[in-house]
Amino acid sequence: MNDRETVEQELPGLLVLSSAFGDSWGDAGLCRRHDLMLLPHDSCEDFEPANETPSPRPG
């Protein structure tokens, strides 16, 4: 998930001294499955593109 507006809501306090619309964030995203911050070229075996129906989340 790398929608910048959503990222700003997910990370409270980000707006105080930074922004998800700046180059320091770039096109990074938050992996909702593993709660990781990932660079745009990074991925893992559980990755699913956003326009596909997500499979049930574990646990």
Partner: protein, 612 residues
């Protein structure tokens, strides 16, 4: 370095990623981030200011901030005089901010009312800061904006839609690009290496301290230690998130890192502002003559209008007011006194965010001129910010080679982390390019002094500087012109018919002393000071009509930023961090602040003192 995918199922991902990678880099990338928009807006302002100047006009009548007032009548008179300027600033900034928000995909129906509130509040803050009360309390617009924002932001729950207009980074980056127009390129080139050296020493020491405290003392995850360390060493919240992605930090690491850095940044704004009010003292006149090498030759060499540089003229301009400051040159300096330039450099190593640091140095600049802003920018932006991509790349290598291997061995790791040198550019703060372009453009313009510039000073008038205001009515009937050196007699002339002094070429400090040495009255001496000012094309024309308006607009951008910091800082939301990350960061602060102070005031003291 690229690792080939080894886990099943990644083939499709790489097809998708390849499709993304093959998509041509469109020009829309230049409109996608606040960094680029700060460049476009900043350069647009500079273009308009310089264009107006060369067209014979000036922005100084519309790029305004409220003036001093101590009675209601003066306040009303000020508004009557400047209302068109306030409206112009409101509409100009508002238009570009709105367009940029729309292009970046933000909700402008939320942005516009929020911007109106921020502008009107900023205007009110400027008015309050210009009042007699605020002057007595020594409170400038930057600190007032922060304090008022903090009070309102923590007492009143801001509606969610308002956050769309709380663009702290966008406003400060615009301000920094505008700042580039007031920072000579020669100063950047000369001071940049020193700033980089000092900043690197402090940054590496701070990062290692925080990382070691986080991992060895408090047993935190190395990725968490890296994120905290980047927050303290490189660039605050932006550093944390840039490194967070590079090392695959957990979302909690980022969230807590943001909280710790933000709280400490706010604490340091208030602490450093207070300390600097006590510690910062201008230099005595004799020490001010030790100007930086980039500036000194131009003041010592024979005057050639075509060769006057911005840096040389700024150094000469600083030298004269320093000698004339109300504070006597013989004032006893205490051991803890530091110069304005040293203060800016120290804050540049010891503040954790650009916006926070600018809040402090803008407050110091209110009393001491632009030197602290310049040295802070050199240290923070040139010395630290631009290297964020290098930090991200190096830490991603360390993450792959050590931390992920350990996580894989513990059964916690994911697929191999792929390294991209591209992260160095991706994370590079692009607004710094706008800063450099602004400096290059203005330095070029400042060096192109018109060869036919003639300085003119009326025999009756007022000479104003930071240190004094002199009204004079000079009579030169008995002035011994023929006793002046031949060169000076040709350069400086009296036009009795038009009651003018004229100067063909810039008058140096030495020539001023010669002219004043034969003066018979204080009014004659004041008239020569005015003539010297008028003979300097950079000071009397370019700075007055183009650069000062840019500085006014920069002040607006800064106050927007500081107000937004206050309004968006909800301590209740930030104080989510636990004992361990907070104390790991605090141990880093305990190293960072004194080390920065030592390097600024001892190791590199002479250098920063000369700029201040």
């Amino acid at each position: 370095m690229r690792y080939a995918p080894r886990l099943p199922g990644l083939g499709a991902l790489h097809t998708q990623e390849a499709a993304v990678a093959d998509k041509p880099k469109s020009s829309s990338n230049l409109l996608k981030t606040e960094d680029y928009w700060a460049i476009w807006l900043g350069l647009l302002v500079i273009f308009v200011a310089v264009g107006a100047f060369y067209a014979g006009g000036t922005l100084k009548d519309v790029a305004v901030t409220p003036g001093k007032w101590d009675t209601f009548d003066k306040l009303v008179a000020g508004f009557a005089k400047n209302w068109l300027g306030y409206l112009t600033v409101f509409l100009g900034f508002g238009f570009v901010f709105t367009v940029s928000m729309k292009v970046m995909g933000r909700n402008i129906k939320q942005f516009i009312p929020g911007y109106v509130i921020i502008f009107v509040s900023s205007l009110a803050i400027f008015v309050l800061a210009s009042s007699g009360w605020a002057k007595k309390a020594d409170l400038g617009a930057p600190l007032l904006a922060l304090i008022i924002g903090l009070v309102f932001g923590n007492v009143i729950r801001m509606p969610a839609w308002f956050s769309t207009s709380l663009r702290t980074e966008y406003y400060i980056k615009t301000g920094i690009v505008l700042l580039g127009a007031t920072l000579p390129l020669t100063l950047i080139v000369e001071a940049g290496p020193i700033a980089f050296l000092q900043a690197t020493i402090v940054s590496v020491a701070t990062w290692v301290t925080i990382y070691m405290a986080a991992t060895k003392i408090f047993g935190l995850d190395p990725r968490f230690g890296a994120v905290l360390g980047a927050g303290g060493a490189v660039c605050g919240v932006s550093g944390s998130i840039a490194i967070g992605g590079a090392v695959r930090a957990e979302k909690d690491h980022i969230a807590i890192g943001i909280g710790v850095v933000s709280v400490w940044a706010i604490v340091m704004i208030l602490t450093l502002s207070f300390l600097c009010k006590v510690m910062v003292k201008p230099l005595p006149a004799s020490a001010a003559s030790a100007a930086p090498a980039a500036a000194a030759p131009a003041t010592a060499a024979p005057q050639n209008p075509g060769q006057s540089g911005m840096a040389a003229t700024m150094a000469a301009a600083r030298a004269v007011p320093a000698a004339q400051k109300k504070t006597p040159a013989s004032q006893t300096r205490r051991w803890y006194h530091i110069s304005p330039g040293q203060a800016g450099a120290w804050i540049g190593t010891s503040e954790y965010a650009d916006a926070a640091g600018f809040a402090v140095v803008a407050e110091i600049a209110k009393d001491h001129g632009d030197a602290p802003i310049q040295t802070f920018t050199l240290m923070k932006v040139i010395g630290r910010d631009i290297w964020i991509g290098i930090w991200a790349f190096i830490l991603s290598i360390i993450s792959v080679m050590f931390w992920e291997k350990k996580r894989q061995a513990d059964g916690k790791g994911g697929p191999p982390h792929r390294l991209h040198l591209r992260v160095v550019w991706d994370r590079f703060p692009k607004f710094v390019l706008g800063f450099f372009v602004a400096s290059i453009v203005m330095t070029g313009i400042a060096s192109a002094v018109p060869s036919d510039h003639v300085g003119k000073a009326k025999l009756q008038g007022t000479y104003k500087s930071k240190a004094e205001k002199l009204k004079y009515n000079a009579n030169f009937d008995t002035y011994p012109w023929n006793r002046l050196p031949a060169g000076l007699q040709k350069k400086v002339r009296l036009d009795k018919t038009r009651r003018l002094l004229t100067a063909h070429g810039k008058i140096s400090l030495k020539e001023l002393r010669t002219l004043q040495g034969f003066a018979q009255t204080p009014d004659q001496r004041a008239a020569f000071k005015k003539l010297r000012y008028k003979s300097d094309w950079f000071l009397s024309e370019l700075k007055k009509k183009a650069i000062n308006p840019i500085k006014k607009l920069r002040s607006w951008a800064f106050v927007f930023c500081f107000l937004c910091i206050g309004l968006s800082t909800r301590f209740r939301d930030l104080l989510v961090f636990g004992f361990k990350p907070f104390w790991a960061f605090t141990i880093g602060v305990a190293i960072n602040v004194p080390l920065g102070y030592f390097l600024t005031t001892v190791a590199f003291s002479t250098f920063w003192q000369a700029i201040g």
